[in-house]
Symmetry: C2
Subunit: 200 residues, 2 copies
């Protein structure tokens, strides 16, 4: 089997959500696996000097129009969260804790986080809500809460974010396909073409 596709994202990113609804099926149709890797977009933006989408004049207005339209284009559920952007530390740490301790659950719970935030509009900033959503997906609430509060898991998320930046990642979603960087949910058609043609 060829190299896995690495899918970097931020749970607070709507375009990360849109990518999350497409990348697994796309990869599978080319016999590829996908490594999901949440990162701290805020830390990346400090380095690039970018500011949160919803703080930017003109761009914020555009985003509020583009996001629901993009969801309808893909046919995926959307409920605009009241808190934009939410703090995704707890959800991202929960993902890595699951990946290290209950790897068979991690991917499904990440999908549940995306759905709870962007499909249902829930604010996953509080660790308790993250634990609620994980519990709905079958993970023990208290075990997960203890895990995501540990210094190791905090360091793990920081380390993943730093390694991603070293590889050139600065946005969400961001894909590495055969070493090629692709930024944005709207690059999915190019990724499809890349996999079909084996590069170009």
């Amino acid at each position: 089997m060829a190299e896995p596709i690495v899918f970097y994202f931020e749970f607070a990113s709507p375009y990360g959500y849109f990518a999350s609804r497409q990348i697994d099926e796309l990869a599978e149709s080319f016999d590829r696996t996908v490594q999901w890797r949440p990162v701290m977009l805020g830390a990346m933006m400090k380095q690039t000097g970018a500011r949160p989408l919803f703080d930017l004049p003109l761009k914020a207005d555009y985003a509020r129009q583009d996001i629901p339209r993009f969801a309808r284009f893909l046919g995926v559920p959307l409920a605009m969260p009241s808190v934009l952007p939410m703090n995704s530390l707890a959800s991202s740490r929960a993902y890595y804790w699951l990946l290290d301790n209950m790897p068979e659950q991690a991917h499904r719970v990440a999908q549940a986080f995306f759905h709870a935030h962007w499909g249902e509009g829930r604010d996953l900033s509080p660790p308790e809500i993250v634990a609620d959503v994980a519990a709905e997906a079958g993970v023990d609430r208290e075990t997960l809460l203890a895990g995501i509060g540990s210094p190791e898991i905090k360091a793990r998320l920081r380390g993943e974010t730093e390694r991603a930046m070293e590889r050139g990642v600065f946005g969400s979603p961001f894909f590495l396909v055969d070493g090629q960087p692709f930024w944005g949910a709207d690059r999915i058609p190019q990724i499809r073409s890349w996999l079909e043609r084996g590069g170009w």
Copy 2:
């Protein structure tokens, strides 16, 4: 015939170039016309707080990889210009002067500007080079140079940029389709779907 598509762009924008190679044919297949409208992206960026792509850490490296790959994806010629970003005042003013005075030439000359800059890597910052490229496309050099130096045409470009910002435009390329804003060359597939389905 339905409402024209408005295509806002900056000649110095590589993604504006990529869009320019696709939008006319797309529109024509849905019996639509396209209004080409160059704008001053620098003025827009002042308002949004954005900075030139090639000045940004990480993003600039990505762009240098993405731009040639995007050109190969589309199958369009590309020669990275040595000056990035070029000053596009002269080329944008030339477009509006032609639109007002020799309208049947304006669109073809705009395509020639894009090709000279992004297909051949020529720097169109000097008005003399802009006039050379327009002359190759059959426009009298001295008449055009006189035209683009006039206060009226300078005010025209400023006015077009201001009106675009009033309509929510902040990037290149940027499309208005049936009043809907679409930002980015990678939104062309969504525009196609919008035209096919009459919205969604």
